[in-house]
Symmetry: C2
Subunit: 425 residues, 2 copies
């Protein structure tokens, strides 16, 4: 399949020289294209515009139970927001805490709380147990890894597969090492590959027998409703699956509307078993009197129910889909046999796998040609991609024209790096 396979060295050199000269032309243009950021584009933000004005009077701030969203109180979310998230994520309301604007913030706080106070069922705070570790399915979400790095939690990479993390490795490690306290999961449309965990993977998570009595699965369902095609991608319900094995206490679940309404001004939730919440809520109530209830109400008034969210997500999908297709189309046209890539049915990223040892070179070549990529290695713990071959592509934020231009240049860079490598070998 590799179009370069049957070329002579001279032909390869001539091809590379041709690509280099094309890249020089781009370089001379001083372009400034950016494929780094998993941020919604302006056209996506625009579809939520009406939410901005949906609360305009005091009457809009009164909850169904009479609570005034404008005043202090309500630690775990207004009832109608709980109901909305419960319906949307199929999580029992009694498991839910509806919080502030950022699920990342909740995750950081959850790790910090475990470090300082421990978790339900544990004997000591994580922070008082010497070196502790997290499993990090990789490639994965750099900001998960940044939390571990900040906290001094040792990260152990575990391979990702199209079915989710390598569960043989996860089971072996978790059951044998009591210093392993957690694992980061983006179970649906994983960051950066867009993989969704198979039913078997979720079952195996639910059946885990951790050596640590204070081990937790950090289930970051960031893209729970973020399909880009009509086809719904099913993810087995983690809490219901755990219920079968009596392991609900092992899960901390996170989600947000950051990529549904407005990033930074959305509503984030945490969900956990009642045992966990009994341990968490008193600490949370020392941390805050309550989260922004008016913004919770703004979301409820605008979306109304899960159907409202799903309808809204279709509008996002209509904007995002052509962008994913443009990226994947270019890869199919240009990189067949040279690189591989994921073709996600949702989420925010495409993972591009270039020949081993080429990712940093592609990053460099792209930067020199005016295209900023997420740093090679960023989706690995400590920024260390051992094979130097993964690149995370974020198609949503640039204008469509910029995206197409950037991906064309990217394809040239991948070819150049691959050719350089072939000629060097």
């Amino acid at each position: 399949m590799n179009r370069y396979e049957n070329m002579t060295v001279d032909e390869l050199r001539s091809e590379l020289s041709c690509i280099h000269s094309k890249l020089s032309e781009f370089s001379a243009k001083g372009l400034n294209l950016d494929l780094t950021r998993g941020k919604p584009g302006n056209d996506q933000l625009a579809i939520s515009e009406e939410m901005l004005g949906v609360i305009s009077s005091s009457e809009d701030c009164v909850c169904e139970n009479g609570t005034d969203c404008r005043n202090y109180g309500v630690l775990d979310g207004i009832p109608e927001a709980k109901r909305l998230f419960s319906e949307l994520l199929e999580i029992p309301e009694r498991f839910l805490i509806v919080e502030g604007n950022s699920s990342l913030n909740i995750m950081f706080d959850t790790v910090a709380r475990a470090m300082l106070f421990g978790v339900y069922g544990g004997k000591k705070p994580w922070g008082q147990q010497g070196e502790i570790k997290f499993l990090c399915p990789s490639p994965g979400y750099d900001r998960h890894f940044a939390i571990c790095e900040a906290m001094g939690i040792k990260m152990i990479p575990v391979d990702m597969t199209p079915d989710g993390p390598d569960m043989d490795a996860v089971e072996r490690l978790v059951s044998s090492d009591s210093s392993i306290k957690g694992i980061w999961c983006v179970p649906k449309f994983s960051n950066p590959e867009g993989y969704t965990y198979s039913d078997e993977t979720v079952e195996r998570f639910a059946r885990l027998k951790p050596a640590a009595d204070d081990f937790r699965i950090f289930w970051d369902n960031a893209y729970a409703v973020h399909e880009i095609y009509d086809e719904k991608v099913e993810l087995l319900d983690i809490f219901k699956t755990c219920e079968k094995y009596g392991t609900e206490d092992s899960v901390f679940y996170f989600a947000s509307t950051s990529k549904i309404s407005f990033p930074g001004s959305g509503v984030a939730i945490m969900a956990a078993s009642e045992n966990n919440l009994i341990q968490i809520k008193p600490i949370l109530s020392a941390q805050t009197i309550g989260f922004d209830k008016i913004n919770q109400m703004r979301h409820v008034k605008y979306f109304k129910d899960a159907a409202g969210v799903h309808a809204h997500m279709k509008r996002h999908a209509d904007i995002i889909r052509p962008r994913f297709e443009a990226v994947i189309g270019a890869f199919r046209r240009e990189l067949q046999g040279i690189a591989t890539w994921t073709e996600p049915k949702g989420g925010y990223f495409v993972n591009l796998t270039v020949p081993d040892g080429c990712a940093k070179r592609v990053f460099r070549l792209a930067a020199d040609s005016g295209v900023t990529l997420t740093k090679a290695g960023a989706s690995f713990p400590y920024g260390n991609d051992p094979c130097d071959r993964h690149l995370r592509i974020a198609p949503t934020y640039p204008s469509f024209e910029d995206l197409v231009a950037a991906v064309d240049i990217l394809c040239l860079c991948v070819k150049a790096a691959a050719l350089e490598k072939m000629l060097a070998d």
Copy 2:
């Protein structure tokens, strides 16, 4: 002055019996009056109503530097929000981080961060130094103390005076004990007494020579602009004062609009020296991508500038002032010589000092008569008022009629408890 001083025992008994029978009448009425909560009343919330609708379109979300508040980014606050708080609190913009909806949350996080990561200039995280302590000027804010209690930080009470904490004690303790890592301060209209620190007190804070290299003054300026009379109550600027002595690094400063706009949906800030922020920001950036910028913009669009906030605070003052005056008027009429109380020029509370050993009894009598008070002892570390004499009165939340009714009953309860004590002695 005590009207009971010259009474015979029989007269005292008869007076007490008369009060008890009045209280029984209230008890039979099944009233449900509440003086516990430092929450703005409905009429106060109403004056900010226009803020709810001040952002209604995408254009309203664009910052002066082009940042789109609807999308991810900006860790430390949008420029116009920084400018607003800088002008309002007279803090240099470079010291400011404009965050989310709750200064209490920022304070908890600041203590948690110090526990896990330490502070600028310290050698180790607080959490790795064995037992650590905070000084707690008392009576003080129960939620400050709850943070210490949750974290397992030992609290050492320090007496409050009308000029602020007993600085002789503060200086002696802080300079001699390196396990003392912090002190809680509400420097203006202190909770619950409404005292404002004198210039000398602020100077002495700025001149502190802590034994610990990682000691911090937690300067919770919760009522920075919360005068209830036209007269501005001046508080010496802590950062400027520290600058004279080169001690700016010793201060963590907090404030919010919770009692300016909407509690729970306001904007909170932290301020600290650049050295501190250099240590804090990388950790904060592991915690969140950014705070709710749309809500920051909502506040900027509504208030515009410091003058806008001050004008708004006058409207709050007009609502609150008669309530404070009703409480203090009743105390003056009924409790002269029996109890003492503070007569604050701002803030949210009146502190009532009943005869030693009587606060819990007053609480009980009030509860039995249908008036809920903040628990006796609540404003002391571990809920322990050693003299059992302080009660925190919150006049803002009940309707005016309820407030008047509740305070009348409260006065009867204080008299009853005082008489019971005189007769028992």
